[in-house]
């Protein structure tokens, strides 16, 4: 066999390993870069808004991941965001658990709930799935809204953090500078893990089921568990965001469950590019920036977002990252 042909065939395997390495390296660099954020002279209010944007980015990542891996559009992902925040807030406020155990439960409960729901909900596809998740998510909102004894119903409930959290002073978590670094680091870790998951065996099987469930079943894979697992992972990410927001604000309210939050997260992921793991987070940051610029028109904000969504879906359905990748490929080909 002539050496040039070998040269073009052989590298296919090492190259995939390289890609994983590249993802890890970019992740590590991003992680380090995060520690600079509080020191480049942002005002405290900007840092605080940035922390909120990072929570949104995590939620949007959760919605986008569900679309990427399962091909399902969810209008109810805020349910797990709220569930995480509520579980943590209620357990801490009532002294039912120490903060460490509360954190564990606040992440475990939504994940488990999503896994069980996923077994049912994954059977419904397309537009019906969007309606179904919207309704299920809203059911959580209704409970939080009406059940006054749970957490003051409509008014929401504030709670004080215990003094120590994993041995650190818990009040520092409400300092924007600290929270921005923490949220950024978590976001980077989540994005890296999700990227690696999409390349893993389970991730590939889930993608196969997304593309053709019948064929995947015919080959011999279980087609109920991997999608439910993806629901669980997505809910886990949403729950992290919910807990972070609850800790940061020291406050939980039914709005954390509301479908408009789910809808906005979905819009972020579409604007950023839901076909890419990193897209939703980029969309969240871009929307955050636009909101900052459009500050004086704050009361028209939903209409602005709606307008952006309409324009993006009509002109660049692959989102910002999709557009960037397309441009980059075009340049490479020249």
């Amino acid at each position: 066999m002539n050496p040039t042909a070998q040269g073009t065939l052989a590298p296919s395997r090492p190259r995939t390993a390289n890609k994983a390495l590249v993802v890890l390296l970019i992740g590590a660099a991003a992680l380090v870069a995060g520690f600079v954020l509080p020191w480049i002279g942002f005002a405290k209010i900007t840092l605080s808004l940035l922390a909120q944007a990072l929570f949104d980015a995590l939620l949007a990542t959760s919605v986008g991941f569900l679309f990427l891996q399962n091909g399902r559009v969810s209008f109810g992902q805020a349910a797990f965001f709220g569930l995480g925040g509520y579980a943590f807030g209620i357990l801490v406020a009532r002294n039912l658990a120490g903060p460490e155990l509360a954190l564990l439960l606040a992440l475990a409960i939504p994940t488990l709930a999503a896994f069980l729901l996923g077994l049912v909900v994954a059977r419904v596809t397309g537009v019906a799935h969007a309606m179904l998740t919207l309704a299920v998510g809203q059911a959580f909102y209704e409970v939080a809204f009406r059940w006054r004894e749970l957490a003051m119903g409509d008014d929401g409930m504030s709670f004080t953090l215990p003094s120590k959290f994993f041995g650190f002073s818990a009040s520092r978590l409400q300092d924007p500078g600290v929270m921005v670094v923490l949220a950024w680091s978590i976001l980077v870790l989540v994005l890296v893990s999700l990227t690696l998951f999409t390349r893993s065996r389970t991730g590939q099987i889930a993608a196969a089921i997304r593309d053709n469930e019948e064929r995947a079943r015919f080959i011999g894979y279980s087609t109920t568990v991997p999608p439910a697992l993806v629901y669980a992972i997505a809910a886990f990410v949403a729950a992290i965001a919910g807990v972070l927001q609850a800790v940061y604000n020291g406050y939980i309210a039914p709005q954390m469950f509301h479908w408009s939050l789910s809808g906005f997260a979905l819009i972020m992921s579409i604007i950023g590019g839901a076909k890419f793991v990193i897209g939703p987070a980029v969309g969240a940051v871009v929307l955050f920036y636009i909101k900052d610029v459009a500050g004086q028109f704050a009361e028209y904000w939903p209409a602005i977002v709606g307008g952006i969504l309409v324009v993006v879906t009509l002109t660049m359905p692959q989102g910002i990252i999709g557009l960037a990748v397309k441009q980059w490929r075009r340049r490479q080909r020249r």
Partner: protein
């Protein structure tokens, strides 16, 4: 007891008017209009503006016509342009439109709750088995029944109705048979949104007006459509009555669980039959 059932039918009737519009649109375009609740709300506000000038019935007509025009525009600009895209893209666009409509209405009429008057002709109560019952609520039931009957007759006995049923079963085969699905869709989407406008005006005096009044009922009508089966007219009718009764009896006898019951019913039905009890498509 009987009064409770009647109240359930009133809410079920409103749900039916919305859900049947969703079903009509879904049948032709295979998309769910997330802006339907916003159109319901916009219809109520337009009717309110006209009836404030003293023309209650004029408000009803103007609102329906205005919503029909909005629906035709929606079909011509959004649904037709995006028909080759993934349907979820269209759904997202309607979601964006919902956000825009809510903001526009808030900018014009404000966030405060507004009271929609009852027309003088329908004010007062009648005795039903010795208990007073508002005439207006009977009127709502009558409207829903009239619409249900005439819609069924239209679908069953007219040529266009036949085309609509055919297109709801399979739009592609229908258009291969030489039927212009695009112009059919214009009529059907316009009709669906006009019913949303009608529902909004009729619901106005029962619920108070606010820019978010469409959200709650939209979710209930989604539940109706999912339970009844996407694309099924009979399914939507039965499910709307069922949810209306559950909504009402729940509120009276199980207030703590009332808002959850429809959701539980929906999840239960979907475990049993993922396409809803009368649906064949997903």
């Amino acid at each position: 007891m009987f009064i409770q059932i009647l109240n359930g039918i009133v809410y079920g009737g409103l749900l039916y008017l919305l859900a049947v519009g969703l079903v009509l649109i879904f049948g032709l375009r295979e998309v769910v209009n997330f802006a339907h609740g916003a159109l319901f709300m916009l219809g109520a506000y337009i009717g309110f503006a006209v009836s404030a000038a003293g023309y209650w019935w004029g408000g009803l007509v103007v609102s329906m016509v205005a919503m029909a025009i909005v629906g035709c525009a929606l079909d011509a600009t959004v649904f037709r342009t995006l028909r080759k895209q993934d349907h979820i893209v269209t759904v997202l666009v309607t979601f964006g439109l919902m956000l825009i409509l809510e903001t526009v209405v808030t900018a014009i009429w404000g966030k405060a709750y507004l009271r929609y008057p009852v027309p003088p002709l329908l004010a007062g109560t009648v005795d039903i088995f010795g208990e007073p019952f508002p005439v207006y609520r009977l009127f709502v039931i009558a409207v829903a029944v009239a619409i249900a009957l005439s819609l069924t007759a239209w679908l069953r006995f007219t040529r266009i109705g036949l085309y609509v049923r055919a297109a709801s079963t399979d739009p592609r085969i229908t258009s291969i048979q030489g039927i212009n699905v695009d112009s059919l869709s214009l009529i059907v989407v316009g009709l669906g949104t006009a019913l949303a406008g009608l529902s909004g005006v009729v619901a106005g005096p029962l619920l108070s007006l606010s820019p978010t009044m469409g959200n709650y009922i939209l979710i209930d009508s989604f539940i109706v459509v999912v339970i009844g089966g996407l694309g099924s007219f009979a399914g939507a009718f039965i499910a709307a009555l069922l949810i209306g009764q559950i909504h009402n009896f729940g509120a009276v006898y199980l207030p703590w669980a009332a808002t959850i019951l429809p959701f539980l019913l929906m999840v239960g039905i979907l475990i049993w039959r993922p396409t809803g009890f009368a649906g064949s498509r997903t």
